[in-house]
């Protein structure tokens, strides 16, 4: 089991907290609004405002902060890259600065580095917040409800929802199969080591069987769907329906309040 623990999609942490019980649409709305403000403005006070709201929500989730830090760890290089790029490539016209060889390093560059790293941090934290507190099925449900106006544009939202449900269901199965295939190929003497390019090329003895068995599964699944009388294009009902509760409205109020303050900060 331990192999798959870090790999579960969405890294959802089941907890009984107020944030978990929020409607997925509200959580999506929150992240959407935050990302729009953060992307539009280059304003450190605005970033901190949303950062603290996000942090407050995290504390309410009863999820330990170490999980959060673990998910950020994968991006350390990216943070460093963005920060150093700004520090080295910003040209200063005022403020204090000095030369390090060819590069000009000064307060403006460091300030920009902090601002763009903070922006990246907020983007990543927003997505992590969603995936930690909302199960993949809930999230999809929310996305589909929000995208239902697209149906008027002939976008097949219901079929897309069925496809996503299938894929979420199959992710753990395929993961298990991948691990088994790797063991089977290693038992036959396959070696997955070597230089970077070599390692990529060597994934094909793994990829091709995984591939073919997946398509065999898809064939079986199609038969199963037919056998259960599935017809595309018919209206479908769902077992669990989304309904807004009073706390969702309070959260919506908080989001609107923060948006208002953000507009004031930008102006």
């Amino acid at each position: 089991m331990s192999i798959y623990q870090d790999l579960t999609i969405g890294q959802y942490q089941a907890q009984d907290s107020i944030v978990h019980r929020f409607d997925p649409r509200i959580k999506l709305f929150f992240v959407l609004v935050m990302v729009i403000f953060v992307a539009l403005a280059v304003n450190i006070r605005l970033y901190l405002l949303w950062f603290f709201l996000l942090l407050g929500l995290f504390l309410l989730t009863k999820i330990s902060l170490s999980i959060l830090l673990r998910s950020l760890k994968a991006f350390i290089l990216f943070f460093l890259f963005i920060f150093l790029l700004q520090v080295f490539l910003t040209s200063e016209s005022f403020g204090t600065y000095f030369y390090l060889g060819y590069f000009q390093i000064g307060t403006k560059g460091i300030e920009n580095g902090i601002i763009y790293s903070l922006r990246l941090l907020l983007f990543i934290l927003g997505a992590t917040f969603l995936s930690l507190t909302t199960s993949a099925t809930e999230l999809l449900d929310g996305v589909l409800k929000l995208s239902s106006p697209l149906k008027k544009l002939k976008v097949p939202t219901e079929e897309l929802s069925l496809m996503s449900t299938i894929s979420i269901r199959f992710i753990p199965l395929l993961l298990e199969e991948g691990v088994n295939l790797k063991k089977a190929q290693m038992a036959r003497g396959a070696d997955f080591e070597g230089s970077f390019i070599q390692r990529i090329k060597k994934t094909s003895p793994l990829l091709i069987p995984l591939f073919i068995s997946s398509f065999r599964k898809a064939d079986d699944l199609a038969v199963a769907l037919e056998a259960r009388g599935f017809q595309s294009g018919k209206k479908r009902s769902s077992y669990q329906r989304l309904q807004l509760k009073w706390m969702d409205f309070i959260m919506a109020g908080i989001i609107i309040l923060f948006s208002f303050v953000s507009v004031l900060l930008i102006l």
């Binding site: 990302v35 994968a74 890259f81 790029l85 997505a127 969603l130 496809m163 894929s167 990529i200």
Partner: protein, 159 residues
């Protein structure tokens, strides 16, 4: 619009495959210096149109799991959708060697565009980095994969 059961199940499973491959290889799958091995699957629309929504949803799921949040979720997935559609169109000219071109070009120029605007990364440098990652995934892995499938009669029956 209505779809056959086979189309829907194939699309769902292609999405799962894409997401699994991205997530297993997470450390090299995200960020500007990425080689997403799962991008090898972008050759699939050459074989079946079901791969168009499949790759789109797979990319969506993988980007919800990790990545830059909403920009990658919306921008990255739409680019993948568009690339998959072009690859599907290319399948009409029977030249499998062209199949990986749309994902390489669209990702290199498109992803770099939003990375440039959001994080002020130098545009052309990012184009080169993202493009190289895509070339490795698509031509070193995706194209051989496609050629192998095309030469096996029994496997072609699945599509």
């Amino acid at each position: 619009m209505s779809f056959t059961s086979k189309y829907i199940s194939q699309a769902g499973i292609i999405a799962a495959l894409y997401a699994v491959m991205t997530i297993i290889l997470a450390p090299i799958s995200y960020g500007p210096l990425q080689v997403r091995v799962s991008e090898a699957l972008t050759v699939l629309p050459y074989l079946t149109p079901a791969a168009i929504p499949g790759l789109f949803l797979g990319c969506l799921l993988a980007n919800i799991y990790g990545g830059l949040g909403l920009y990658d979720i919306i921008g990255g997935s739409l680019i993948t959708l568009l690339a998959a559609f072009f690859t599907y169109l290319l399948s009409r000219i029977k030249r499998p060697v062209l199949a990986p071109l749309p994902p390489i070009f669209l990702n290199a120029f498109g992803v770099s565009l939003y990375l440039h605007f959001l994080f002020k990364m130098p545009y052309w440098l990012t184009v080169v980095y993202v493009g190289m990652g895509e070339i490795v995934a698509c031509y070193f892995l995706g194209y051989p994969l496609l050629k192998i499938i095309l030469t096996r009669k029994r496997w072609k029956e699945y599509f």
